[in-house]
Point group: C2
Chain length 240, copies 2
Amino acid sequence: MANALTRKLERVADLTAGEREVLESLCDRPRIIRAGQDILREGDRPEHLHLVVEGWAIRYNILPNGARQITAYLIPGDFCDLHVLVLEQMDHSIAALGPAKIAYIPKATVNLLTRQLPELLQALWWATLVDEGVLRAWIVNMGRRSAFKRAGHLMCGMYERMNNVGLVHGNAFSLPLTQREIADTLGLTPVHIGRVISRLRKEGLIALQKKELLIPDIERLKAISGFDSRYLHPEHVRVN
Amino acid sequence: MANALTRKLERVADLTAGEREVLESLCDRPRIIRAGQDILREGDRPEHLHLVVEGWAIRYNILPNGARQITAYLIPGDFCDLHVLVLEQMDHSIAALGPAKIAYIPKATVNLLTRQLPELLQALWWATLVDEGVLRAWIVNMGRRSAFKRAGHLMCGMYERMNNVGLVHGNAFSLPLTQREIADTLGLTPVHIGRVISRLRKEGLIALQKKELLIPDIERLKAISGFDSRYLHPEHVRVN
DNA sequence: CGTTGCATTGAGGGCCTTCAATAAAAGTGG
DNA sequence: CCACTTTTATTGAAGGCCCTCAATGCAACG
């Protein structure tokens, strides 16, 4: 019964029993964060790394005019701020979507671990490379698809990620987002997202109620929204 | 007289003389790629990693309707395809913008090197984390700024990157892009980009001719387009 | 059970697109 | 080096996708 971080890293690397144990221990004693609360704010210079143990979080920027753009959804096993190992300062904020459990891991611990366990260092690097693929797909989605396809594509991506961690049951899964979050993800307005969702419903592509998203025919939705799942599938390459 | 890869990695890590020498040798005997030619295509399963030694390249996706979205500009010192260490298959293509020199490095060599030189592994990881920041800023730009600000922001980013490698002279630098490239970068059409550039010129924010971009007052352009350069500046953290 | 936030729907407007034509520039072959 | 072709840039007109503003109903929450 591995935790989320271990599961995630084992998709891209072989870990020894000792390494796995170290990872487990990092997730001990997470702090409880209330729904909507910021975990990190732009400008922060955190002394700890923050790891999502339970719940969802969003990575986002606020622009001078007050507009928000979400640049990532963080689910259990995702680090919030690996980049502060290099950049020190946060250039964006992170907030819990619903109630969440966050582990606080001292930067020094991570630096120590990665120096002692090169296999772990490589696993973290490779996980970062996978994340890059997600960001690229996000850019393609926002740049070259209509609002309708954009929304469908987002839902396919959520489906895949949740499915990868066994959280899809009967083609349905929990999607704890308001239309405002979806709008801020896709670079649109809540009003228009409302119209788009209404159309997705009318065309029988989704059923969404009470933050529970059902996709009756995922292949059809993928086809319509131009979703290609390759970018999400690390193939567990062995170098040894 | 270090090469571009060494310069780039030394911004995020300490390298020994031996490590630097290894990096230099990787860039030996690059192949010449003609302007516009693909270096890698979607679906490829490359046996080598590709490193830009000279010139510019773009990372892009083509959608079923023929639309193109550019997701990165690669300049000397950038790897084209580090992610194939994990994902194996290319989920996008890479093309040379002008004539370029590309080094072909066997995947096995990189895997060997990163296992033998953890410091190098860490440098590559950290460089990847910096790239992630660029992608996030890209998303914010496309999602929440007008075409006018988007174009200005792109030009500020190019200015910064070129300045970081000493290629800005008298507030001007080479920008080997057509309006089509800029459009495909920002999720707009070439026609509209033309109008936007015309306005940037009229307002004295840029002078652009013969692929040479002059920004008379970079701070003014940054202010107008909401550019924050923090995301581009690794602070060279020491862990030792 | 009131308050607050969220979803829905309508009307009107604006930013950007599409289509089209022309001019300018860059690349090509003799 | 010039004629030819192709690509790129410029400009105009019309239209569409999405935004803004606004009002209503509904669900969530204390």
